[in-house]
Amino acid sequence: MTRLAARVAGRIITGFAWLITAVRAVWQGSAPLPDQRIYFANHRSNGDFILIWSVLPTVLRQRTRPVAAADYWLAGPVRRFIGRDVFRAVLIERNAEDRRTDPLRTMLEALERGDSLILFPEGTRNMTESPLLRFRSGLYNLALANPDVDLVPVWIDNLNGVLPKGRLVPVPLLCTVTFGASLRLADGEDRRAFLDRAADALLSLGAAA
């Protein structure tokens, strides 16, 4: 029953996203294949993962889970239903002081089960003029533990214009989601060097979009 409701709700949410943004996937450098992957994207809007999720072909979507904040998605029954049942989000606890689970541990468990992840390595929504914030270490740690998983950069264009922070009514604008060539951690690559390389790969997609 919950699964059926979740599927219907998923359709409604992606349908609404399409109505407002006519979102289009641009596969440029990687193909929509059902391999295990970590999609890492720029983050400016709460709807970012919905957009990525809705342009993935169904077979991929069923195995792809967004990484999201537990404190947000567990607050209240509606969010809990959407976060847990519809998007099957990997919910991580952000606050280091009072958390009981380790975010990295939670993400690694999801990868061990064979699921793909959608991750925002900036760690928070980017509210600045700069196109991308400095990456946190999470992406590096996941890559280190999963050397065989492809890391696919994903640039989301225009969604921040659709629904800026604090606005309830969206402005319809065309959005694109661009998937770039995948990358992996090189042998002995330093943490910062790897994170910079990943950020550059993402930024170059944004510059072309």
């Binding site: 009514v169 319809p172 065309l174």
Partner: protein, 316 residues
């Protein structure tokens, strides 16, 4: 079945035959091109013709659904077009509520007025009231950077995508003696002649085009294409005079006016695309680009056609 419905079905059957012939020809060309390794132009031609089937079917269904169907269809098309236009506009966060109002208040209101047949208000609603009101909403947010550019581009978006386009369904409200119940044919005639002119200009241009009309704007718009396309589309519009309230000569004059206006629309909208650095307005109509790519000519022709018909033929 009413005489209007019969004429409409006759017209749709004719278009269906034309498209069937085009589809056959395009598939043959594709087969020939495949032997030479394929051709992007032929693929695009096939995609365009396939999309034409979709557009004719949707428009045909709206015609059969009557006044409400036509108004709702054009409201939805306006929405898609406005979304494409605003995506390219200069915007800031401060425009959020003004733009939301453009989409969710001004656009529906315009089409409700057209549906209600409130001519006095729908002809001034966007040029006067949206024009004055939306900048007020924007200015309340306090951001003055590029303010004039922002409000001007928003107004342009509404004028093109909503106001001008709404003159197509507005044709349903004209009252022409001896033409009662047949107004939907005015829309059919306008759309067929203007779109046929686009297709024929493209075809004449591809076959004989040499001299560009505006070299800095578009190398594909040529004098040969323009003259050939406009004259042949005018001929087609003249031959279709039996579905209009016009005599043959009047239909010829109208066809010439709307095809020339349509050409101007293509030119102006191309200039905006060039200014904004894009090739197409959108991607939703396979082979054609966006809604505005397909409608630029209709947008410029519709108000002119509406007012000429209203002034010379209508009793209201």
């Amino acid at each position: 079945m009413s005489a209007a419905a019969q004429d409409l079905l006759r017209l749709l059957a004719g278009i269906g035959l034309l498209l069937a012939a085009a589809t056959l020809l395009a598939r043959l060309l594709r087969r020939r091109a495949a032997r030479a390794g394929g051709s992007a132009t032929v693929e695009n031609l096939n995609a365009r013709i396939d999309a034409w089937w979709g557009m004719v079917i949707v428009l045909g269904l709206a015609f059969l659904a009557g006044r409400t169907g036509v108004v709702v269809l054009f409201a939805l098309v306006s929405f898609a077009a406005l979304r494409e236009f605003v995506t390219l506009c200069t915007r800031s966060r401060a425009d959020h509520w003004a733009l939301a109002a453009a989409f969710f208040v001004v656009l529906p209101a315009q089409y409700v007025l057209v549906w209600q047949d409130w001519y006095g208000l729908y002809t001034i609603f966007i040029p006067v009231y949206a024009f004055l009101l939306l900048p007020v909403i924007a200015v309340l947010e306090g951001d003055t950077k590029s303010f004039l550019v922002r409000i001007a581009e928003t107004q342009w978006a509404l004028m093109i995508c909503v106001y001008a386009l709404s003159h197509v369904p507005a044709l349903l409200s004209l009252r022409i003696t001896g033409f009662e119940g047949r107004n939907v044919l005015l829309i059919a005639w306008l759309v067929v002649v203007v779109q046929l002119s686009d297709v024929l200009q493209y075809t004449w241009g591809k076959l004989f085009g040499r001299t560009p009309v505006a070299p800095s704007l578009s190398p594909s718009k040529t004098w040969e294409g323009l003259v050939g396309g406009v004259l042949s589309a005018t001929l087609a519009g003249t031959l279709l005079f039996w579905i209009t309230p016009f005599g043959a000569a009047q239909a010829a004059g109208m066809a010439l006016v709307v095809t020339l206006a349509g050409f101007c629309g293509g030119l102006v909208m191309s200039a905006i695309k060039r200014d904004k650095g894009v090739k197409d307005w959108g991607h939703l109509i396979a082979g054609h680009g966006g809604f505005i790519d397909r409608l630029d000519s209709v947008v410029f022709a519709a108000p002119l056609f509406f007012h000429l018909t209203r002034f010379f033929f209508s009793t209201v």
